[in-house]
Symmetry: C2
Amino acid sequence: MHKRPALSAIPEKPPRKQQQRSIRTKQKLLNAALEAFSENGFKGTSTRNIADRAGVHHPLITYHFRNKDELWRAAVDRIFTEFNAALAAAAKAQAGECPKARMSALIRAYVHYAAGQPALHKIMVQEASRPSQRLDWLIDTHIRPLFDAAVEEIKVLQELGVAPPGDTKLLFNMIRVSSGALLALSLEFKGTSGIDMYQPGRLDELADMIISVFLPGDIEEE
Amino acid sequence: MHKRPALSAIPEKPPRKQQQRSIRTKQKLLNAALEAFSENGFKGTSTRNIADRAGVHHPLITYHFRNKDELWRAAVDRIFTEFNAALAAAAKAQAGECPKARMSALIRAYVHYAAGQPALHKIMVQEASRPSQRLDWLIDTHIRPLFDAAVEEIKVLQELGVAPPGDTKLLFNMIRVSSGALLALSLEFKGTSGIDMYQPGRLDELADMIISVFLPGDIEEE
DNA sequence: GTCTATATTATGATAGAC
DNA sequence: GTCTATCATAATATAGAC
């Protein structure tokens, strides 16, 4: 073996190793940020704490995300992108089914996603505590589209007599918090009743109960 | 008129004015603390911010409550004392009525209380984010007693066929979050749907919907 | 009971070496 | 891309004057 001639050393692209490390660092920071923000809220979370959780030096947050606010937005973007994908997958699997089966599948998907990522609901409650730019951004960018689509589906179920009558938006929010808020309170629930929602079967039990309470009717065959 | 003889100047009790001012200061601090803690969580709230909201100098917090933690406990004590009183009043008014009417009255009372004091739910979600001494204290001191009593009442309604079957504790928590969490998210709800839960009639609409969804059955006359 | 002043630590953000 | 060092600010808490 001999050295490669210097002249043939054409300028290579920047080493891919570093790019990969950069991506991993960003992912670690985003995971840590979601955990920290959902535990302590935006104000209650320090960027140092996020960096510590991620096992990363804190100035790297500035490097990768400019500031605390941008990091928060990136973390929330990530969670909603995942969540939308989970819902879309559930909806796709039920493409040809009847509306009640579709909605049931969506409720199941929501319960399971909310259990794996309680930050989804916690961050919402935290930000809805008072008017803020973050809340406006959250609603406009992520929540309203989801909300509008879900309300349309439930309205159909009400017309079919499957879901109970009354204000559709109110009904949707009752369904939503029955899974999201209940799972966000799972530690409290464990403490008061001894029930661990993360034991096998519990999540399906919750989903079944939500379905039987909020979608009590049956679709009549023609 | 003449001066009272010096000898008759028996030592008076400490001036009551100051005691009254002290009580008012404590009340102002407790109100401000509830507001601040529910907006920004325990870690996200500074004692200076609480003092500012109360219009009081910050070292007075140390004077009246020893430290931030004791102030938090005093504020939570206050909210649960009020809440228990509101529930007790509603229960008392329905003393002789049937179980469904009793539970309906309790749900109405809960909805109205949660609307006036959304901190009740917000603080719970914040503290349930991770194990802590504050969470343990909250559960043992305030939540479990309420929880146990409510679950007993709902169990009766399930046996009567008024409430849907299934795990009673799960059902109770669904009812609870349908009012508490929904009202804690009222700003978000306003943003997504344009509905203001604080308009007249909205709270009763929510309570009626909770009752019709979770207590759909009727009590049969003997 | 109330205030000013301050000790100590934590925080967000940046500059500049490597 | 990563690290150390550092700045300016804000936090909890206390000491001591009034």
